[in-house]
Subunit: 141 residues, 4 copies
């Protein structure tokens, strides 16, 4: 994995499995959310504080490819990074790996928009320049 | 089952199972919630409308005995009824049965309190006498 | 909606919402599963029986666009249909609508493969010709 | 808290909340499971390995009192310990605390039985004396 990914690591819980014996496919979407909020926290954006200020970041799209199943108690690392950001919309990419295994198990993506309390887009670079800078920094090279 | 129970029926979803091949024990608590809100609806109390008026009914306790496991695609009926109500607190009892089987599979109970927007108890019989009457009627004989 | 869609209808549960007040985006993926298994049932394929025979249909990809949020107690209809099938892989398309509203709220897609007990692909048209016919019929015009 | 409790700590995920803004009551039951399996791991019992040997520990009862709500991003510690064990059945007690707060937020309990592959009780002290010793040690003083 490239170094500009953020890494979020935990074990798979029992209740995340289904009768097929593997993690239910809907739970990867939740794991992405955990990784995304952890990644944002690490670049200085605490989502709880954002919501308190009146900013929400709803999910507008999600996609996932399940390549290798995850099992109960697997030690997984979710690599995530912001791949697009324009002040209004954001895209995040995810890759899940198991410990001691080089093969990628899952590849995912989520799309988001930034909305204010009235559920409307707002001028982030004007109203919240610090937030804007932290995010735009993620997609600059 | 006695006749003063409300009956809520549906099939078990695939994602409700875990790797043991049975419904995960946490999901019965969700099934109770479905049954409870359906039962309240049937006695004329729509929970969505209650919340719009500013009344919430948080869960303050829950208990469950798992006697016979539920499986994917099982056709289950959740019997529920209000067993206690005093204007401030409410208790609901649940029993889950499978189609064509007389044995009770699950027995549960939940405790609730009625709170206003400020998360405080309120005088329901004064402020919402209609709501009070509908609920007190459930526990009178 | 076109007529060759299968329709699955139910109300949104309270526990499907999150603190944003809307259905959590991971729960749409579960709703798709409910709709897919219901649709397969209607064309004569009971997934529980398939698993008993030794056939599983894991999800290999999923995608979803969230256009209009779903709320607690919304009366939703999930339209689904098989859009691709070649004896080994299958694709299903989903669209979610609210009652009395013509706008599509959610568009989704899931990809699946058919595997035997050893988690390997098998010749469905040879081994399970009835199953094959039921599915191929869905994508023929 | 007394010192013979095992402590499991993590933050509350966004998807664990509901539209009331607090953690949905069913999710505490899942948090108890995480804490229980972590506690068992710490006393030398890996649940994944148990299942591989053919031992399952289904939940036969659960109860929970919700005293103080948990919120998104709360840093919670789940204290758990085995309170009863007789070779066939086990009881586990749980208490949830928030960081920097002495008040207990949640008190829970779960009952379990040990079953073999045929879903039948077995003589653990004869068949798995090491497992028996690890568990009986928890309830001896």
């Amino acid at each position: 994995m490239e170094e500009n990914y953020s890494v979020y690591r935990r074990r798979i819980y029992y209740y995340e499995t289904d009768k097929m014996g593997i993690v239910h496919h809907s739970n990867y979407i939740r794991l992405f959310e955990e990784a995304r909020l952890d990644m944002m926290n690490k670049i200085g954006i605490n989502y709880k504080e954002l919501e308190e200020v009146g900013i929400i970041i709803p999910v507008i799209s999600v996609s996932c490819k399940y390549l290798i199943p995850l099992y109960f108690d697997d030690d997984v690392s979710v690599y995530s990074k912001v791949t697009k950001f324009n002040g209004i919309k954001m895209e995040v990419l995810y890759e899940i790996y198991k410990k001691d295994n080089e093969s990628v198990c899952t590849i995912g993506q989520s799309g988001h928009c930034f909305l204010d309390k009235e559920m409307k887009p707002f001028r982030m670079n004007k109203l919240y320049p610090d937030l804007y800078k932290k995010l735009i920094k993620q997609v600059e090279h």
